[in-house]
C-alpha cells in the first residue's frame, strides 16, 4: 500500500497524471472510490480485500476525464475493462495509466500492450459461488429458471444501479431512456423489469469483463451479474471471443466470419 501511495504521490507531483482514481476509507469498514488530485493526499489511498468495485466506470465519466490524464488503481477486472474500453474506442492510451495491484505487487502499466500482457497472465476469476449458481441455473428446466428470475426480478425497483456501475454501460443515451418510441416499459412491473434485464444482458454479451460490480451494486441483492456472465460465456463458446482480453477486436456480435459456428441457429 505504501508503494502505491508513493507512486501516486510522484505521479501527481510530477504532473504525469492529474488524478488518481482509487479506493479510500468509506463508512465503517467500507471502501469507496476516491479521486486524488494532489500529491499530499496520496495517503488517502488504500488497497485491501475490500476494494472490489471496478473503478473503470469512472474512465468514461466526463467530470473525471475533464481533469486530464488519469491513473487508476486497477484490480484484474479493471484491467480487462481498460482493454474493452480501448477496443470500443472509448479511451485512448495516453489518457490512462493503470496502477495494477496484483497479489500485493504494484505494476505500472502505461500501454495497452502492457495491460494485455498482464491480463493474459491472470486466470479467469468467477467466484466459486457464482460458478455454482450459473451451473445450477443451466440445469434447471425452462419453467424453473423462469420462476427463479421472476422471483429475483420481482424485487427490482429499476434504480439502474447495475447499469450505472457497469464500466461497459457508458452510453450517454441508453435504449432504456429512449422514449420516442418507448422501446422498453419504464415502469418496474414484471415485464418492464424482465425486458430491461434481458436487454442489458444481451448488450453485454461478449463485452462483459465479469467483474460482478453490477450484482454488488444492486441494493436489493438481485444477482444480475449472472445474466451477463452467462451471455458472455455463450459468446465465448460460440465465437471464442472474450470481453476484455484485447485492446483491438472485431466484436463477435457484429462481425461475420465464414468459420463462425452456427449452432445457435436451430
Amino acid at each position: 500500500m505504501e508503494e502505491l501511495r508513493k507512486k501516486a504521490s510522484e505521479l501527481l507531483a510530477g504532473g504525469a497524471v492529474k488524478v488518481v482514481i482509487g479506493y479510500g476509507k468509506g463508512t465503517g469498514e467500507n471502501r469507496r472510490p476516491i479521486f486524488v488530485r494532489a500529491a499530499e493526499r496520496a495517503g488517502d489511498l488504500a488497497v485491501d480485500a475490500g476494494c472490489t468495485q471496478n473503478l473503470a466506470t469512472y474512465l468514461t465519466k466526463a467530470e473525471v476525464r475533464a481533469m486530464g490524464r488519469m491513473a487508476i488503481v486497477a484490480i484484474p477486472s479493471t484491467l480487462r475493462s481498460i482493454l474493452q474500453l480501448a477496443a470500443e474506442r472509448q479511451i485512448r492510451e495516453e489518457q490512462v495509466l493503470a496502477l495494477a495491484v496484483l497479489d500485493g505487487q504494484l505494476r505500472e502499466l502505461a500501454t495497452f500492450a502492457a495491460v494485455e500482457e498482464t491480463v493474459a497472465t491472470i486466470p479467469d476469476a468467477i467466484s466459486a459461488a457464482d460458478r455454482a449458481m450459473i451451473d445450477k441455473l443451466a440445469t434447471m428446466s425452462v419453467s424453473e429458471r423462469r420462476n427463479f428470475w421472476a422471483d429475483e426480478l420481482g424485487r427490482c425497483v429499476k434504480c439502474y444501479a447495475c447499469r450505472s456501475s457497469c464500466p461497459m454501460c457508458y452510453c450517454e443515451r441508453c435504449t432504456m431512456d429512449c422514449n420516442r418510441p418507448q422501446w422498453i416499459p419504464v415502469a418496474s412491473h414484471a415485464i418492464g423489469n424482465l425486458e430491461y434485464h434481458m436487454v442489458r444482458a444481451m448488450h453485454l454479451a461478449g463485452r462483459c469483463v465479469e467483474c460482478g460490480t453490477c450484482g454488488a451494486a444492486c441494493p436489493v441483492g438481485i444477482p444480475v451479474h449472472l445474466l451477463t456472465f452467462y451471455a458472455e460465456e455463450s459468446v465465448r463458446r460460440q465465437f471464442g471471443q472474450k470481453g476484455g482480453g484485447s485492446a483491438k477486436l472485431d466484436y463477435a456480435m457484429s462481425t461475420f466470419k465464414p468459420d463462425d459456428k452456427e449452432e445457435f441457429i436451430r
Partner: protein
C-alpha cells in the same frame, strides 16, 4: 392523552392472529436472505426487530408502480376512459422503525399540496402504523440531526417500546391505534407498576438542520457539489429506497386498442429526469442533480412545507453502491 398498555410476546402472536382474522394485511420488516425487506408478516418470529430494511415502507402508500386509469379506443376519435380505484387493502405496518412512521408526513404534504391524491390518501387512510422504538443504530443513522429521535412517536398510531423482560410497552397515539387495540383487546394488558424499557439507541447529533438550511442559501454555486458527487453514478438507488422521496413519472402503456396510465417512481439523480423535449437539460451534470437532491430535502421542503424532506434513516447511504454517505455530506455542507 395516550393510552399505555403492555403487549407481551404471546400478545404479539395473538394480535397477528386477530389481524389476520379481521382481514388486515400485515406488513413489516422481515429478514430474507441477507436483507431486511418490508414483507408480509404472519408470525411474530418473522419480525426483524432491529436493523433497517433496505427499501422503505413507502410502497404501502406509494407503490413503485400504480395504475391510475385505463382507456379504450372505440373507433374514430372516441376514447372511453375508465377510472380505476386504488387497491387500498386495509393494512397494518407492524414493527417498522419510528423514522419510517415519521416519513409519511413528508409524502402527505406533497400528495395533498394542491391536488388531493386519491390513491395515496385511500392507501394512507387504510394503513395503521405500529412502530418499534430503535434500540440499535448504525453509522448511517442521523434522525437526531433532523428533529427526530429513535423513540419518536410522530406518524405512529401505536409506538412499541421493548421491555427488558420481553414484550413491549404499547403507547396508543391515535384513533386508528385505538381501533387496532379493539380488534385484539386480550393482547393489550393494562400497564401496571414500573415498566423497565430497553433504552432507545443513542444517535449523536451530527449537524444542525436549521444551520444547514441557512448555509444552503449561499452555497448553490459552491464547488462542494461537484466534489461530493464525483463518485456518484447517477442511479436511483438512494431515491428508491428513501421513505420520503416522492417524485414519480407518468407513463402510458398502450397498443392500438387500449391502454393504461401508470405512475412509477422516478429519481432526480437520473439524467432523463429533467431532459426537455427540446434536448436541453437544465441539470445536465451529475453535480447539479446531486445538489438538487440535497436542496429539495433540506432547503425547498422546509421553505415550502415547514418540514424537512428527510427523516435521517440512512437507507440511502446503506443502499448506495459507491458509499455516498448522506450524513457525512450534510455535515460538510453545513460548514
Amino acid at each position: 392523552m395516550t393510552d399505555r398498555y403492555t403487549l407481551s410476546e404471546s400478545g404479539v402472536a395473538s394480535l397477528l392472529d386477530a389481524l389476520a382474522k379481521a382481514g388486515r394485511r400485515v406488513l413489516g420488516p422481515k429478514k430474507i436472505a441477507e436483507r431486511i425487506e418490508i414483507a408480509e408478516i404472519k408470525t411474530a418470529a418473522e419480525l426483524a426487530k432491529e436493523g433497517q430494511s433496505t427499501v422503505s415502507a413507502k410502497g404501502t402508500v406509494f407503490p413503485k408502480v400504480e395504475r391510475l386509469l385505463k382507456y379504450r379506443f372505440e373507433g374514430g376519435k372516441n376514447v372511453a376512459l375508465e377510472d380505476v380505484e386504488p387497491n387500498a387493502r386495509p393494512t397494518v405496518l407492524f414493527g417498522v422503525r419510528p423514522c419510517e412512521a415519521r416519513a409519511f408526513h413528508a409524502l402527505d404534504v406533497v400528495f395533498n399540496w394542491d391536488y388531493k391524491d386519491k390513491f395515496f390518501n385511500q392507501r394512507l387512510a387504510n394503513t395503521t402504523v405500529v412502530a418499534i422504538t430503535c434500540t440499535k443504530a448504525d453509522e448511517s443513522c442521523f434522525c437526531t440531526s433532523v428533529g427526530s429521535r429513535p423513540d419518536d412517536p410522530a406518524g405512529s398510531d401505536i409506538l412499541l417500546s421493548p421491555l427488558k423482560s420481553g414484550g413491549y410497552v404499547a403507547e396508543v397515539l391515535t384513533d386508528k391505534g385505538k381501533a387496532l387495540v379493539a380488534l385484539a383487546k386480550a393482547a393489550f394488558q393494562p400497564l401496571t407498576g414500573a415498566a423497565e424499557v430497553v433504552p432507545a439507541a443513542t444517535v449523536a447529533p451530527a449537524f444542525d438542520a436549521k444551520l444547514l438550511e441557512r448555509k444552503l442559501a449561499g452555497k448553490f454555486d459552491s464547488p462542494v457539489w461537484l466534489e461530493q458527487s464525483l463518485r456518484c453514478l447517477g442511479c436511483g438507488a438512494c431515491a428508491f429506497v428513501c421513505p420520503t422521496c416522492v417524485c414519480f413519472d407518468i407513463q402510458d402503456e398502450a397498443d392500438t386498442r387500449q391502454g393504461q396510465r401508470l405512475r412509477a417512481w422516478d429519481s432526480c439523480g437520473m439524467r432523463l429526469f429533467t431532459l426537455h423535449a427540446s434536448g436541453h437539460n437544465p441539470r445536465d451534470k451529475q453535480s447539479q442533480r446531486w445538489r438538487q437532491r440535497i436542496y429539495h430535502k433540506f432547503a425547498y421542503y422546509p421553505d415550502r412545507f415547514q418540514t424537512l424532506g428527510c427523516v435521517g434513516c440512512g437507507k440511502c447511504s446503506r443502499a448506495c453502491p459507491v458509499d455516498m454517505n448522506l450524513k457525512q455530506h450534510l455535515v460538510e455542507a453545513a460548514q
